[in-house]
């Protein structure tokens, strides 16, 4: 494979240095090993120059210092579940693999904080907190498989974010190895640290400003009661209108999830989730909080569904019934996947009231690009995740899917929404940045990167269109 101009060449001397820092077996450099680090959950691939496993802040700092001295770029990577290509080493640089840095450092119930290392799985956090009666609210669909470091990088969301907020609302402090290898603390257990909110800036920076090595999380008391209901609709408009009606009525459900008819049929084909196969849309609505008043609120919500022509509302009376209602939503991804060779999940946000119009627009994009499309939404947030079905082995289909993804983002931008709800910009959406931002806005974005990483060594070629363009063609 030809190297792109400016690509990193990892020398034997540098490898020796890295081995000295992390141990011989913790540096991968042979092609056979590197091949398994040329991908994440996005479509494109790029081969790194080496992979380094780190286990402590000191090691991360040492490795970054060495790379900085050598002028070699690097990419922090957790579990590689990124959907926008954020962990691809487009310059052929060194991947710093954080997955082994996964210890809990402090569970501080009194202060509603928890300190963890970035390699910890998102779901493990809530599992550890469960005995204390607390949880970590951001719950991305990949929470079983994604790490907190990645959640911080992408400012991950999830169904519960409608009520509880995204990662950035739940991270209050970070220990960061800066791109030159210096270690700094941003924020802390206390709120309102004097000076600029670097924690807020760092969350969602997609690994381009440094490497988080410790994360202070805000943890939340587990709700006393949960009430789940499934509403079945004959028209997706009615489902969308129900969502708006619920919000307008002043209700703040914990989740407001929506699936379209395509997904429903896929689900019913693979399992019995008890959803009529001819339904056009379903909503999964969940209330949480105090047990008192829950019944009344559930009734109000059901009432709003009925006022919007719902065909049927089912309320879970037991935990088993609750799981049954969620079964379809949780199995939706797998069900759709079974209908296709491959899929690409797009991600954008629109103002909630624009959802019905956006859904029509997405269907039109599918038609225009000759692609089947399945729709899942975090409807409360106006966050849509159309899944485009295709065959990865067909280059033409791949092109069409990438184009359709951008079409969706254009649509979201036109609706006054955002071009990335929770998957980040990465490689995938860099060209969409200009849909949202002007030239001068982009200049300010560049300043952020330059302030942290003037040598452009930390996850180069991501987020900013100019940087992505510089490395175009290095992926396959």
């Amino acid at each position: 494979m030809a190297l792109a101009p400016g690509s990193v060449i990892v020398t034997e001397q540098l490898l020796q240095q890295l081995r000295g820092l992390v141990g011989h077996d913790n540096v991968l450099w042979r092609w056979v090993d590197l091949q398994t680090y040329e991908y994440d959950a996005y479509i494109e691939k790029a081969l790194p120059g080496a992979v380094v496993f780190v286990e402590s802040t000191e090691q991360v700092a040492g490795v970054v210092r060495a790379l900085h001295r050598a002028g070699v770029s690097f990419v922090p990577r957790g579990c590689g579940t990124n959907l926008s290509g954020g962990t691809l080493a487009v310059t052929g640089g060194v991947i710093i693999e954080m997955a082994r840095m996964n210890r809990v450092l402090d569970i501080d119930i009194d202060n509603e904080r928890m300190v963890v290392e970035p390699g910890m799985y998102n779901l493990d956090v809530s599992a550890l907190l469960d005995p204390f009666g607390y949880f970590f609210a951001p719950d991305p669909a990949s929470q079983k498989a994604c790490s907190l470091g990645g959640n911080v990088g992408e400012n991950a969301g999830g169904p519960h974010c409608f009520k509880y907020g995204v990662t950035s609302n739940h991270v209050v402090g970070l220990e960061v190895v800066l791109p030159d290898g210096e270690v700094a603390w941003f924020g802390g257990k206390a709120l309102d640290s004097p000076g600029l909110d670097l924690t807020g800036l760092f969350v969602g920076s997609e690994g381009t400003l440094g490497i988080a090595t410790k994360i202070i999380l805000r943890i939340v008391r587990k709700p006393e009661a949960v009430k789940t209901m499934l509403a079945v609709y004959d028209s997706i408009e009615d489902a969308g209108n129900t969502v708006s009606a619920i919000v307008a009525a002043g209700m703040v459900p914990a989740t407001l999830e929506m699936m379209d008819g395509f997904v429903i049929r896929a689900v019913q084909d693979t399992m019995d989730a008890g959803i009529p196969a001819d339904a056009a849309a379903v909503l999964i609505l969940e209330l949480d909080g105090l047990a008192d008043g829950m019944e009344e609120q559930a009734e109000t919500m059901a009432e709003l569904c009925r006022a919007n022509n719902v065909r049927e509302v089912r309320v879970a009376a037991t935990e088993e019934e609750r799981e049954a209602l969620w079964k379809g939503r949780k199995g939706a991804f797998g069900a759709v996947t079974r209908l296709t060779q491959n899929y690409m999940v797009a991600d954008g946000c629109v103002p909630r009231t624009c959802l019905p119009e956006t859904i029509r627009g997405v269907a039109e994009i599918g038609r225009r690009r000759d692609l089947q499309v399945a729709n899942m939404f975090h409807a409360g947030d106006g966050n849509l995740h159309p899944l485009f079905l295709f065959d990865d082995r067909d280059p033409g289909a791949r092109e069409r899917v990438l184009a359709a993804g951008l079409d969706v983002l254009r649509l979201c931008a036109d609706m006054g929404g955002s071009v990335s709800g929770e998957h980040g910009i990465g490689l995938e959406k860099a060209s969409a940045m200009t849909m949202a931002f002007s030239e001068s806005d982009m200049r300010a974005q560049e300043w952020i990167k330059d302030s942290f990483d003037p040598d452009d060594l930390c996850n180069p070629g991501k987020v900013l269109p100019s940087r992505v363009a510089r490395w175009a063609g290095t992926t396959r």
């Binding site: 991968l28 042979r30 092609w31 056979v32 090993d33 091949q35 398994t36 680090y37 040329e38 991908y39 994440d40 959950a41 496993f53 579990c79 590689g80 579940t81 693999e97 997955a99 082994r100 390699g119 799985y121 779901l123 990949s142 079983k144 498989a145 994604c146 991804f333 797998g334 996947t337 079974r338 060779q341 491959n342 899929y343 065959d391 990865d392 082995r393």
Partner: protein, 489 residues
């Protein structure tokens, strides 16, 4: 380039290209949770497979590490959106590697010349035990021979003082010579004349003296008892307990089958031809299956693999139907007991003294206090949800045992790291997987760790020894025999 790729692999292209690289296989994979290396998890293997098939890379020795580092435990397949059967893909690639680079003559000798022949196996194992007794186990181990034949054996050598006095098959065939008390004095009457195949041993049900009747829910049934290599050569007492419980609790008569190795080790090495020939040989040996109501094994690996014979022999005009008939009769021990209705609802036969808690007792009343026996269960991969779906049954049996408090083991269904020969491929990782398993065991506070597979049993015993734990590792039939037929022990 394409011409170098075995056709069998090309056919897998569609499957491997389906991998969406979502990464959900990672948290499930015991090896990944230890090494955190992509090459060790399904996603990385799919990437390599795809690169091989698409000609980006070739079948080269260096890539083998990725395919060797798989427990075939199917934890990944369980969480795969695309429903990929990574274990099968790995076996296909192991086979391709063997096809390309050859299998060592030793491996060939073992899979083709040894495993099918119980007599030869027996002789070899005897030699190994003698070497061990003579302090020569280092020599034997260095040969690598023991691992290859059966990694269980090496572990047994490490764990045990001496060889079992007699292998299971001999013990079961010569009840009079058996040293165990439970059949003492009855041996002569317990022999039933051989019916059917040459010289097969058929043991009649044992009536329970206290209840005065031998009737069990399986009265009149005939069960074929499948002897697994692990119990045969290393843990014969478990096999004896299995047969004992079958005879006492079900009311069925038990025929000791003349089977050879089920073929799982060969399959795991990607020696599909060897595995198929063992499967055919076993089907032939078992002969007419109509005489059995069930073929039972307490080895989760054996019963799991037997149930997959139809898939293994799918293209075989003669043996595919026969393998389906066999698979339909195969039951794991606990599965069989629960299925025919031998469950815990049966009353305990005797008051069982539990372990004493001296410290607490002394403080309270100045004497030891009997507390329930705390029991937990390790679910063997080949037994549990991902292979046979036998999940509920062993737990049900254990919960019903007198004086037992059953505690669920965290990640009970995750592989213990034995996985056939994996401890030879990567001893450090296997050890780390085992250590995590033992941490979870320790967290339950269990006195007894029960399982239903000899390979797991030996691995867990090794784990207990390494962890300095005094948890007792037993087969499920052993504990049942011990607690429900204490008088007979």
């Amino acid at each position: 380039m394409d011409s170098e790729i075995p056709a069998g692999l090309l056919a897998l292209h569609e499957q491997v290209a389906k991998c969406g690289k979502c990464g959900f296989c990672q948290p499930a994979c015991p090896i990944y949770r230890t090494t955190y290396r992509e090459g060790h998890v399904a996603r990385g293997k799919h990437a390599l497979m795809r690169n091989i098939i698409e000609g980006e890379t070739v079948l080269q020795p260096d890539l083998r590490d990725a395919f060797d580092n798989c427990l075939l435990c199917r934890a990944c397949t369980d969480s795969c959106f695309s429903d990929l059967r990574t274990d099968r893909l790995v076996v296909a690639f192991r086979e391709a590697y063997a096809g390309r680079f050859g299998r060592s003559t030793l491996q060939r000798a073992i899979f083709r010349g040894l495993l099918p022949y119980p007599r030869r196996m027996k002789a070899l194992v005897r030699v190994a035990w003698i070497a061990r007794a003579a302090g020569l186990d280092g020599v034997a181990a260095r040969l690598g021979l023991l691992d290859m034949v059966n990694p269980k054996l090496r572990k047994a050598l490490e764990l045990r003082e001496g060889a079992p006095g007699m292998f299971l098959r001999e013990r079961l065939s010569r009840p009079a010579a058996n040293g165990k008390g439970w059949r003492r004095g009855r041996a002569a009457t317990n022999r039933e004349e051989v019916r059917g195949r040459r010289g097969a041993t058929v043991l009649p049900p044992i009536p329970e003296s206290r209840s005065g009747s031998g009737d069990g829910p399986g009265t009149g049934m005939r069960v074929g008892y499948w002897i697994s290599c692990g119990y045969n050569y290393m843990l014969p007492e478990v096999g004896e307990a299995t047969v004992d419980v079958l005879r006492r609790r079900t009311g069925a008569s038990v025929e000791i089958l003349e089977n050879s190795c089920c073929g799982l080790p060969a399959y795991g090495y990607g020696d599909l031809a060897g595995a198929r020939s063992l499967a055919r040989r076993n089907i032939e040996t078992l002969g007419d299956l109509s005489r059995f109501d069930a073929v039972v094994s307490e080895c989760g690996s054996c019963s799991g693999h037997l149930k997959e014979y139809p898939e293994l022999l799918a293209g075989d005009r003669e043996f595919a139907p026969r393998s389906r008939r066999l698979a339909a009769k195969v039951r794991s021990f606990s599965e069989f007991l629960v299925e025919i209705g031998v469950s815990g609802s049966q009353t305990p036969r005797a008051a069982v003294p539990g372990p004493t808690d001296r410290a607490a007792g002394d403080a309270a009343q100045g004497g030891p206090v009997v507390r329930p026996l705390v029991v937990t269960f390790h679910e063997p991969c080949h037994l549990g949800g991902r292979f046979q779906g036998v999940v509920r049954q062993p737990r049900e049996l254990l919960r019903a045992l007198p004086g037992v408090e059953f505690r669920e083991l965290r990640d009970a269904d995750s592989c213990c790291g034995a996985a056939g020969s994996y401890n030879m491929v990567n001893p450090a990782v296997s050890g780390a997987i085992l250590a995590r398993k033992m941490e979870n065991v320790a967290a339950t506070g269990a006195d007894v760790l029960v399982t239903e597979c000899p390979s797991c049993m030996l691995q867990l015993s090794l784990g207990a020894k390494r962890a300095g734990s005094n948890v007792r590792v037993v087969g499920i039939s052993e504990l049942i025999a011990e607690l429900q037929h204490p008088a007979s022990r």
